[in-house]
Symmetry: C2
Subunit: 349 residues, 2 copies
C-alpha cells in the first residue's frame, strides 16, 4: 500500500475538487492510501457527499492553511498549523511516501524543501511541467514532453542544468515508461558552443553522462515540434516558454470556440473531423491532465494545478504513486552520483 | 528621392527574387531610387527579364559575395569585393541613405556595424522582428508586434535593454504609425522586482523615461495575446521566443494543410469561413511580410528574410524608405540622449 499525503486546502477550486478526486480514486485504486490533510470538519463534511472507500482514506487535521496570494514564507515562519506544513511533516516523518499539493506553488516549494530536504548535490529543487507536442514520446506514444525548470528560479549554473537533466530523465523513464528519453538543452542554436556559459558547460558534461540519452541543444522551434522528450533550461526561460505555450493554447481555444459558436457549416465539418479537433482540444486543455513534479527532494512531491478538476486531481495522486513505485528518488540519487563522478574528468586542466 | 542600397546577392532564393522585387517597385514607387549591388553581368541579365523603370535603378558592381554558411568575419577580413561590403560602403559614404540585405545575417551585422557605425550610447546593434498577435496594434490596426533583440546576442545589460526599448519604440512609431507604442519588458512575472538584475534595473529606468510609454513587465502568455506593441528582451531569450513562434506557425500550417488535403467536407466548411482561415494563414506566413530592422546604427539597415519572395523584398525596400523619411535614426538618437540623462537620477545613492 502506497501512502500519499494530500494537502486538500488552498487550491483555487478549494477543497471540494480535491476531496471528490480522492474519494473517486479510493473506489478504484486498491494500492493507494490517502492521508487527506486539512480542517477535519471541512473534510469530513465533504467526504460525506462523495462515494468513497473509507478504509483507503485517513483525514489528518490541520487547523490552518496558506491562502493563495499570501507570502509563502509565512508557511515556515508563522503558520505551523497550515495544511501544507502538516502534510510535508507527514512525509518528512515517513508516515507518507509522497506529497501532492494543490496549494500555492511558493508555499509548497518552501515547505517541502525545508521539511523534506534536498537530495545530495541538489542546490535547488526544480519544478517540471508537461506540455503537448506534435510528436509523441516513448513506446506508449505519450503526447506530452517534459520541460524543467519552470520554477522561475533565476541563474541556473551548469551543475543545476546537469541536475535538471538527470531528474527530468528519471521522471520521464518512470512516468512515461520511456526507457531512454531524449534529453536536450534549450539554446539559441544547435552547435555545442551556442548559449550562455552555463549551457555550454552543461552541454560538454551531458555529452559524457552515462545515465542520459543526450541529444544536444535544441532551439525554440523544436519545443513545439517535440523533438526532445525532456527539455532542460533555466527557470526564467522555462517560465517564459511555458506561459507562451499557455498563450498559444488560449488563442487556439478562442478560435475554435468562435468557429463552433458562430458557423453552422463549419460546425458540421468539425464534427466529421472529430479526431483532429479532439487533438487540438487535448492540446489546449492539457493543464488538466496532471501535476507538476517538484524534483530534487528526498521524497516525491507533485504540485497539482490550483484549478484542477477532480479527475485531474485523482490523476496527480496516481502519478505520485507511480513515481514512488518506480523508485524515482533512488533513480535521481544514482544519476546525481554519476554526474558528480563525470565532472572532474571533463573539467579543462 | 530616397536612395536605398540593396545587396542583391546571397539570399536563399538568390538574386532573381531581389531583382524582380526591385524591378516591380521601380514601376510604382516614384520616391525610391535603388542602388542594386551585385555582379553587374548577373544583375543586368536579370533586369532584362523584368519590366522596370531604369531611371530609378542603378547597378553597382561587386565582384564577389558572401555565401550562406560562410564565416561572417570573412566579409571584413578577406572579401573587400563582397556585395554586402560594397553596399554598406555606399551607405557609409552617404551615397545611399539606407541598406537592405537579403544575405546572411551575421555578415550583414558585421559589415554594417563596422562600416556604418553605431549610434552614441549603443554598445551593440539589435535585430528586431515582427510577429503576428491576437490583438492589433496602433490606430491603423497593425496585426504585428515588434520584439527585440532577436539577434542572439547574449547577456544584455540594463543599458542595452533601455536602448532596445528606445529603438523599438521609435521604429513602431514610424513604421506602424502608432504615435505611442506600448513597450514592455519580457520577464517571469509582472511585478517590478521580477526577472534578472538587468531586467529589474531596466524596469526602474524605463518607468521614468519621457520618450517611452512603458507598460511594465509582461509574461510569456502576453507575447501571444499581443498585450504590448514592443517586447524588449535579451537576444538569447528573443531568439528562443521567435523560433517558438515559428514552430507554432509550422504546426498550425501542417494541421491546416492536412485538413485541406484530406477531407472534402472540412474543405467546403473552410472555404465558407475564408476569413478565419486567411487570418490563420497570415499568422503562419508572416515571415514573408517584411524585413527585420537592425537598429542602433548611424543609418537605416533592414535585413530581409533570405527566403523572401519578390513582393516581400519590395516591401522591405519600402520599409527602409519609410524609416528614412520618418527620421528613424534621429528619433533613436534623441531617445538615447534622454536615456543617458535619466540614468544618474535613478541610480540608488
Amino acid at each position: 500500500m502506497l501512502r500519499i499525503a494530500v494537502d486538500a486546502m488552498g487550491g483555487d477550486a478549494g477543497a471540494p475538487a480535491v476531496v471528490e478526486g480522492v474519494a473517486r480514486l479510493s473506489c478504484r485504486a486498491d494500492n493507494i492510501h490517502t492521508l487527506l490533510v486539512g480542517h477535519r470538519d471541512v473534510l469530513h463534511s465533504l467526504l460525506g457527499q462523495y462515494r468513497h472507500d473509507p478504509s483507503r482514506i485517513d483525514v489528518v487535521h490541520a487547523p490552518d492553511f496558506l491562502p493563495m496570494g499570501a507570502d509563502p514564507h509565512e508557511v515556515l515562519e508563522r503558520r505551523p498549523g497550515a495544511s501544507i506544513r502538516v502534510a510535508t511533516d507527514l512525509v518528512a516523518a515517513g508516515e507518507a511516501e509522497a506529497l501532492v499539493s494543490a496549494g500555492p506553488t511558493g508555499g509548497t516549494v518552501l515547505a517541502a524543501t525545508a521539511r523534506i530536504g534536498r537530495l545530495p548535490g541538489i542546490r535547488r529543487a526544480a519544478l517540471a511541467a508537461v506540455y503537448p507536442t506534435e510528436k509523441t514520446h516513448g513506446p506508449r506514444g505519450d503526447p506530452f514532453a517534459l520541460i524543467l525548470d519552470v520554477g522561475a528560479t533565476l541563474g541556473a549554473t551548469a551543475d543545476d542544468l546537469v541536475g535538471f537533466a538527470v531528474m527530468g530523465s528519471a521522471y520521464a523513464r518512470i512516468i512515461s515508461g520511456n526507457p531512454s528519453p531524449k534529453v536536450a538543452l534549450l539554446s539559441n542554436g544547435a552547435e555545442a558552443n551556442k548559449g550562455t556559459p552555463a549551457i555550454v558547460a552543461a552541454h560538454a558534461r551531458l555529452r559524457e553522462h552515462p545515465f542520459i540519452d543526450f541529444s544536444g541543444n535544441i532551439e525554440g522551434i523544436d519545443i513545439v515540434r517535440g523533438t526532445a522528450d525532456v527539455v532542460v533550461c533555466d527557470g526564467f526561460l522555462g517560465n517564459v516558454v511555458l506561459k507562451m505555450l499557455e498563450g498559444v493554447a488560449e488563442v487556439l481555444s478562442g478560435l475554435m470556440r468562435e468557429a463552433f459558436d458562430e458557423r453552422l457549416l463549419w460546425r458540421v465539418g468539425l464534427s466529421l473531423v472529430g479526431h483532429d479537433i479532439r487533438q487540438i482540444k487535448a492540446m489546449t486543455d492539457w493543464k488538466q491532465y496532471g501535476g507538476a513534479p517538484l524534483l530534487g527532494l528526498e521524497r516525491v512531491v507533485i504540485k497539482a494545478h490550483g484549478r484542477s478538476n477532480p479527475r485531474a486531481f485523482a490523476n496527480a495522486v496516481r502519478v505520485a504513486a507511480r513515481a514512488v513505485e518506480g523508485g524515482l528518488t533512488e533513480q535521481i540519487r544514482l544519476g546525481l552520483i554519476e554526474s558528480a563522478r563525470t565532472e572532474p574528468q571533463l573539467r579543462p586542466s
